[in-house]
């Protein structure tokens, strides 16, 4: 057995386990937790396209989640347009907004870019909180929008059981991971990496660094918005404070950073490690020690940044490689 075969089998194993979980997990609560886990893995992987590959620090990505959620929800509630179509439209809208935000800000230094994204996200939240109607569209301000669970089915993107949601988000996650993998091997991936590491050298080698980052931003905003629609259809209720919140933006960034931005598996890893912590500390300590999970996040973030700035995926990858080496070295010995 070669190393390649081993990796493929390991990957296949992971995929089978992920897709097979609903067969063994029947509790609605746990399914809910798992669905949110995959959702965060999706969000952090999408974030990674800008935050990892492009090397900047966007701290306002919840804005795109909100754009996606509100677009599909408004179109469904007022015009009966299927949320699937609304999802795509939301994605396109988010892409446009992402490009508009990116054009002036991606040229800035790291801290200023981060501030600008925060300002945009907060500004958007404030606006949505205060607007009841935007032209013909009803946004309902701070009260948010509720989706009545009337017609279930694929067209309306609404299901009684949690299982369809589980598979939808898992498929979305797989898609986004494959996309990221593909990009990392492509010209854009190389250019983004180079531009992030040594922008001057990259420019001298023919790379329009700002434009590459803009493309990454556009892709990231599109994909993030799709998750917004999913979230809206899953929880059937959206309001500005929850969906365009700074907390969400920061949580996405933190998880990706802890897992390891710039790598493909890092964000997913971060989600796999941190979301359960978050969920369990909320369930068990929610009343007695509120905000405990945030303290844990913060402390872990600080520790990781101080000792493993490339994220936890680095030591984990090294362990995996060592394991592989030992497995195959011993096989070589046997032969």
């Amino acid at each position: 057995m070669t190393r390649e075969k081993f990796n493929i089998i390991a990957l296949a194993g992971v995929v089978i386990v992920a897709f097979g979980l609903p067969l063994v997990v029947h509790s609605a609560t746990y399914l809910h937790i798992l669905i949110l886990l995959w959702l965060y893995a999706y969000l952090t992987t999408s974030w990674n396209l800008v935050g990892g590959f492009a090397g900047v620090l966007p701290l306002g990505h919840a804005a795109f989640v909100g754009i996606g959620a509100y677009t599909s929800t408004v179109l469904w509630l007022q015009y009966g347009i299927s949320p699937w179509i609304g999802m795509l439209i939301g994605g396109l809208l988010a892409t446009i907004v992402g490009i508009i935000i990116g054009l002036p800000t991606l040229k800035m230094r790291g801290a200023y870019f981060a501030l600008a994204t925060i300002a945009f996200a907060e500004g958007l939240r404030v606006m949505v909180e205060n607007i009841d109607r935007l032209g013909p569209f009803v946004l309902n301000g701070p009260r948010g929008l509720q989706i009545p669970p009337l017609e279930t089915g694929l067209y309306s993107f609404m299901f009684i059981s949690k299982i369809p949601y589980y598979y939808i988000i898992l498929v979305m996650l797989s898609g986004v991971l494959a996309f990221t993998w593909f990009i990392s091997r492509s010209k854009l991936g190389y250019l983004l990496n180079a531009g992030g590491e040594e922008p001057e050298a990259a420019m001298a080698l023919g790379i329009n660094v700002a434009r590459a980052k803009l493309i990454a931003m556009a892709m990231s905003s599109f994909l993030t918005a799709l998750a917004g629609t999913f979230y809206a259809q899953f929880t059937l209720y959206i309001h500005p404070k929850s969906i365009i919140s700074l907390d969400l933006s920061f949580e996405i960034a933190f998880i990706a950073l802890i897992g390891g931005r710039g790598s493909i598996a890092g964000p997913v890893l971060g989600a796999l490690l941190l979301r359960p912590v978050s969920d369990f500390s909320r369930i068990y300590f929610g009343d007695t020690l509120p905000g405990l999970h945030l303290i844990i996040f913060g402390v872990v973030l600080i520790l990781v940044m101080l000792f493993q700035p490339r994220g936890l995926q680095e030591p984990l990858t090294r362990m995996f490689n060592k394991l592989q080496a030992r497995l195959f070295a011993s096989k070589a010995m046997e032969a």
């Binding site: 010209k187 190389y190 590491e197 050298a201 080698l205």
Partner: protein
């Protein structure tokens, strides 16, 4: 054909005039050396030509087209490549990766970029290091990497900014040989250098600047004997007059 024409180039930084009405040409296929005491303005000339900042006054023509003020990435696509005095490798990535980044200037496909990069590395006798992490290279190898990266972009004109700095004499000789070979690839070379023997051995012609102004121009031996040049480098006492 004159591949580069610099006319009355002037660059001011606030109140400081770094380059003063400089005229300079390079013929296709030449190796032109630019020398001068420290602070003479050599790097500024390079940076203006390479598009890092626009000239305050004057014109720069590359392949008969005016390029003053164009961006570095456009210029690279157009055939003008440069290396940096303080090397800037993509330190966390392999040598091959670094050169591939350069190769992407002329292709969109990863496989083609890899092929081109491998070819360049072989050409420069560097392929044995292709998987080494760039940050772990010696200074001489890093300089070679800078050249390899720039070469992968298939430039018509290559600006080399003090590539010899920090090299031992044996390494300098190696580098001179490498640069001479580049000419075989149809690359015109514009070199800034401090190390006299390298410049003299390498250049077809030499331009000397001081305080941003040209003070001598000609064949290496002529320039070395030029009174103004001697004064500029060694001071008044050494001039024989």
């Amino acid at each position: 054909m004159k591949i580069l024409e610099v006319q009355r180039l002037t660059k001011d930084f606030g109140g400081l005039r770094a380059v003063d009405s400089l005229d300079l040409d390079i013929e296709e296929g030449e190796i032109l050396g630019l020398i001068g005491p420290n602070g003479a303005g050599k790097s500024t000339v390079f940076n203006c030509v390479a598009g890092v900042y626009p000239p305050t006054r004057g014109h720069i023509y590359f392949r008969s087209e005016e390029i003053s003020g164009r961006k570095p990435w456009d210029l690279c696509k157009y055939g003008l490549a440069r290396t940096f005095q303080i090397v800037k490798p993509f330190a966390s990535k392999s040598v091959l990766y670094n050169v591939m980044v350069g190769a992407f200037a002329i292709t969109d496909k990863t496989s083609e970029a890899r092929e081109k990069a491998l070819w360049v590395l072989e050409y420069l006798n560097f392929e044995d290091r292709k998987d080494t992490r760039a940050g772990n290279l010696t200074i001489a190898d890093r300089k070679r990497l800078e050249i390899a990266r720039a070469l992968a972009t298939e430039p018509k004109l290559l600006l080399l900014d003090e590539v010899m700095a920090g090299l031992r004499p044996a390494e300098v000789d190696e580098m001179v040989a490498i640069i001479r070979r580049l000419r075989e690839q149809g690359v015109t070379i514009f070199v800034i250098e401090h190390i006299m023997r390298a410049i003299m051995a390498l250049s077809d012609r030499v331009v000397v600047i001081q305080f941003g102004q040209k003070i001598a121009e000609g064949l290496p031996q002529q320039v070395a004997a030029d009174e103004n040049v001697i004064k500029a480098y060694l001071g008044e006492e050494y001039a024989v007059s």
